[in-house]
């Protein structure tokens, strides 16, 4: 995820809020409720766009999805017919599009080429591991990143600031799978402290504490990779928004009034600076899920990323298509949640 893109997303969110805050201020008391429903509807429209886009990406671009599979796999004529039926190959495009929409809205994402089961089952099985990995690393990277950002931003130019900024800049520039491989060599091979991959050890303690700690043991390396890579971004953003905040007039006033440093930081600077950072983290959350493709591949972590990687190599178009839909939906959902939270928390909207 390039930073320019996130900047753009951030700008978009910010601008939208300002416009809407203005509208709400000028409007009646219904403001907030109306605003929220507008946001939900617009998210649904975006989702619809993604579904349409998906159709073109998977059904129109590849010349003939079924034929793509003929040699690598020994598909028979009847299997070809099944795939062609699933994809509606041979029908006129509008007709295909209509069938696709009808199926998607009924939740039929097709049958996996590789596993011969519904795509929804393939994705469903991979959902929980991804949520666990992305969730834990998001929580950790948020806490640590925000904490570093606050400390660095507050004591700008200090040794801590310079060191942490240098480290974060390095981490931010690091390909996550490369970091994963290096950690794998050091912590799984050279010193065999952590497992080389997967989510569970086989057999033995599958109950209670033993199974939980086994899971955490497997989770550690992939979660550390994602945490390190994302905490860099979060701390850099937190740092600069705190610095912005420190330059603002009200803070100078607060200090001039003789409020002590820690108080100023806690009561005023940090809460205000947190807003853009949390927005960024929320916006990023949707992307982190798909960004875990490489990390999950390195650590054989059986989540959506690994499922997509395997689908890519097979190639299992229905699974890729389903995963793509889900990844996009995750971004839309994360955006919506970020937007709703900010709408509720933004003082300008509150006053309406």
């Amino acid at each position: 995820m390039s930073s320019a893109m996130l900047d753009g997303a951030l700008a978009a969110a910010q601008e939208l809020r300002e416009e809407e805050a203005g509208a709400a201020n000028g409007g009646t008391g219904l403001g907030l409720v109306r605003l929220l429903s507008v946001k939900v509807v617009s998210a649904l429209i975006t989702l619809f766009f993604v579904i349409v886009f998906n159709f073109f990406l998977f059904r129109v671009l590849p010349a003939d999805p079924a034929r793509n599979l003929v040699r690598g796999s020994t598909l028979t004529a009847s299997q070809m017919a099944v795939i062609n039926r699933t994809f509606g190959v041979g029908l006129p495009l509008p007709r295909q599009f209509w069938n696709y929409l009808a199926q998607t809205f009924q939740g039929h994402l097709g049958i996996s080429f590789q596993f011969h089961i519904p795509v929804a089952s393939v994705i469903g099985a991979a959902l929980w591991p991804t949520i666990l990995l992305v969730g834990s690393s998001t929580v950790l990277s948020t806490i640590i990143g925000v904490w570093i950002g606050i400390r660095a931003g507050w004591d700008r130019g200090s040794t801590f600031d310079r060191t942490s900024t240098a480290i974060c800049n390095t981490l931010y520039a690091m390909p996550d799978f490369w970091l994963g491989m290096v950690l794998l060599i050091v912590f799984a091979s050279k010193w065999a402290i952590f497992p080389a991959g997967g989510m569970h050890s086989f057999g033995g303690g599958s109950t209670g504490f033993a199974s939980v700690s086994d899971l955490l043991w497997h989770l550690t390396l992939p979660a550390v990779v994602l945490t390190l890579v994302y905490l860099a971004e979060y701390s850099l953003v937190m740092r600069s928004s705190l610095i912005d905040e420190l330059g603002s007039d009200y803070l100078l006033t607060a200090r001039a009034k003789g409020l002590r440093d820690a108080m100023v930081r806690r009561r005023h600077a940090v809460p205000n600076a947190l807003l853009p950072s949390i927005t960024l983290i929320m916006l990023n959350l949707g992307f982190v899920i798909s960004g875990a493709i490489t990390t999950e591949t390195v650590f054989s972590w059986p989540g959506l990323g690994l499922a997509s990687y395997n689908a890519l190599n097979y190639p299992d178009y229905p699974v890729l298509e389903g995963a793509f839909l889900l990844f996009s939906a995750a971004v839309i959902a994360a955006n919506l949640v970020a937007d709703l939270l900010l709408t509720v928390f933004d003082p300008r909207v509150r006053q309406a």
Partner: protein
């Protein structure tokens, strides 16, 4: 204000505490892991874990494609016969004996008595007859999946005679009816799965008669099987068998080293080397039936002989193909790409099947000889032209080279081939593509050369069929339906020999098969590059009783050529051979002593480091927590 005014300081403190907890929870696990002996203890001594690099797709034997799939099917289901462990000769499995009528057109099989399906239903001739009837319905998924075994069987002739005899007729004499590697399915389950449903039938809880029973299948993760206590050959020596998918062969090698798996296949040559000398691990570098080739477009055409595609006509000239073959430094590929775990290749039936392998006379082998290659091209009229590219009749000698970029091996091979051909004055454009695009381009004849490979079964029939005229593309433009032929080699004498080898067995067949390869070698539609070995490694400190195929010195331990010998005879070190061992008749590996003692010493330090690291995590987190508290306190005091 709706915005909460709780100070971020206190929030941070709480969240940091959570981080400390996270570290603490992970710590005992970290201390637990780390050493092979303990890792093995955690999963139980008779649980055998196989790491596989190709994922298991599913439990339905009609639709699986990967070698891991076939590994599982052969353990869940029995075939009528097995390829013999030491000689690939027919060996009884579900069929105890068989015979053929005088006119060689009717085969009779005697089915083993007292065999039960894993759900307790007795297995009878009716099940076998049902399976073969199902597999011979013309045009069905079932038929195409088993076509190399059932192609000549007359569908209506398959019948059960009594409880333990099955009879079927064939359209013409078919010697390989004595080696039917077709999974026998329970009629009482599969008769409820219609032909339409079969390609999407998950078969999640397969009922089989094989030595193992599937208990759990997690896609993209693992398959867990337990020993079948009622197996007709006796209960296997391991109680649990797990296939663990790895997308990353490096991780697989590390897992073996750490003892979290017991067997690794598909290792790269450098990973294989990195395991050398590791305590408790035995390496097995066994020749397999696999090879890769540089294939030529010898004149693409459809089955009806209509020329298709835009292949460079230069490659129709056998002299050019032979010259190219002389320019290939196969030794260098073997040395660099396979670190010598391979050997230069000649003809398509590999030397692990010595009875069928054609070994060309020394003076005919395409040994690396760029001078000879250049001389051949010059004699053929290709004179060196500007830019170091040869010219004939005003046309430059330029060829396209395709390879599947999904394969690290082909990716590594391609620049070598380009380099050698450039050296003899052939311009080469190299393009990596995904396999589906490549398949279509080849099917359409839109290519000059490509690098790809085959795995050859003990029965050479299929591999030889690839070079017959009937396997050229079919259909119509723009996209032809590719057959199995990708060199478009077509030779009448070869085709008639192919038909002839189907009708005879024994030495007569071997002679024909070799003669066919001789034709191929002279015409060189493929320049075979190398026969590569299967590099496998396993924990010999924990398990013993492998049954290598075809022999102890050069044998594959697991992932054998359409065979499943070791699984039935494996056992933990220190236990006595299981009943299956004698009943199946496994021939064991020679040597491979248990090395349990060596493993422990390295493991302890691993565990200690694990503990230390966990402690560091807790300390650092705790330190951060305290630092945070203190800085807050001093700030307050400063006031």
């Amino acid at each position: 204000m709706i915005r909460s005014h709780s100070t971020p300081g206190s929030l941070l403190t709480r969240l940091l505490a959570a981080a400390v907890l996270f570290g603490a929870a992970a710590a005992p696990a970290a201390m637990l892991g780390g050493q092979p002996a303990q890792a093995a203890k955690v999963r139980g001594p008779s649980t055998f874990v196989v790491g596989n690099t190709a994922a298991v797709d599913g439990m339905n034997p009609y639709v699986g494609l990967t070698n891991a799939d076939f590994e599982v099917y052969g353990l869940v289901y029995d075939n009528l016969m097995d390829y013999g462990q030491t000689n690939y000769a027919p060996s009884p499995r579900l069929a105890t004996s068989w015979s053929v009528s005088k006119n060689k057109l009717v085969w009779t099989y005697h089915i083993r008595h007292g065999v039960k399906w894993s759900d307790g239903v007795p297995l009878t001739a009716a099940d076998v007859a049902y399976t073969f009837s199902r597999d011979t319905i013309p045009g069905s998924t079932e038929e195409s999946d088993n076509s190399s075994y059932v192609a000549n069987i007359v569908h209506s002739s398959v019948k059960a005679i009594g409880k333990y005899t099955v009879q079927m007729a064939v359209t013409k004499p078919t010697p390989n009816m004595d080696l039917l590697i077709v999974p026998i399915l329970p009629k009482h389950i599969w008769e409820h799965v219609s032909e339409k449903q079969v390609s999407n039938f998950p078969n999640n809880n397969p009922v089989g008669s094989g030595p193992f029973i599937v208990t759990n299948f997690k896609i993209n993760q693992s398959v867990t099987l337990k020993a079948n206590p009622n197996y007709w050959g006796g209960k296997p020596g391991i109680s649990k068998l797990i296939f663990n998918d790895f997308t990353n062969p490096s991780a697989e090698a590390i897992a073996l080293k750490n003892g979290s798996i017991d067997f690794a296949e598909g290792l790269t040559a450098s990973l294989f080397n990195s395991l050398r000398g590791q305590p408790g691990i035995t390496l097995d570098n066994a020749p397999s039936g696999n090879w890769d080739e540089l294939a030529f477009n010898t004149g693409a055409a459809t089955v009806s002989g209509k020329p298709i595609g835009n292949g460079n006509p230069v490659l129709k000239d056998v002299n050019v193909r032979r010259a190219i073959s002389y320019a290939l430094n196969r030794e260098q590929l073997v040395k660099h790409v396979f670190l010598n775990y391979a050997e230069p290749a000649t003809s398509p039936i590999p030397p692990i099947y010595p009875q069928y392998h054609y070994n060309p006379p020394a003076n005919e082998i395409y040994n690396y000889d760029p001078k000879k290659a250049e001389a051949m091209l010059t004699a053929d009229g290709w004179k060196m032209g500007p830019g170091g590219i040869r010219v004939k009749d005003g046309k430059q000698l330029k060829l396209r080279l395709y390879f599947g970029s999904d394969s690290p091996t082909y990716t590594q091979d391609a620049p070598y081939v380009k380099s050698w051909l450039t050296a003899i004055g052939i311009g080469v454009t190299v393009t990596g593509m995904n396999e589906s695009t490549e398949t279509q381009d080849i099917g359409n004849g839109d290519y000059d050369m490509f690098i790809w490979g085959w795995g050859v079964e003990p029965n050479p029939d299929f591999q030889l069929s690839v070079f017959t005229c009937g396997q050229r593309s079919a259909g119509s433009p723009p996209n032809y339906t590719p057959g199995w032929s990708d060199s478009f080699f077509c030779d009448n004498q070869y085709d008639s020999l192919y038909a002839a080898q189907k009708l005879v067995g024994g030495v007569a067949r071997q002679k024909i098969v070799k003669q066919m390869q001789q034709i191929l070698y002279a015409d060189e539609p493929y320049a075979l590059l190398y026969y590569y070995n299967d590099t496998q490694a396993f924990r010999s400190d924990l398990f013993t009783g492998f049954a290598p195929q075809p022999d102890a010195k050069n044998g594959l331990m697991l992932f054998q050529e359409v065979s499943w010998w070791s699984y039935r005879c494996l056992r933990p070190v220190g236990t006595s051979p299981a009943l299956t061992d004698r009943n199946i008749g496994c021939q064991h590996e020679i040597g491979a002593p248990a090395q349990a003692a060596a493993a422990a010493s390295s493991g302890v330090s691993g565990g200690m480091i694990g503990g230390i690291a966990a402690a560091v995590v807790v300390l650092v987190a705790g330190g951060l927590f305290l630092a945070r508290r203190r800085s807050a306190a001093t700030a307050d005091e400063r006031e």
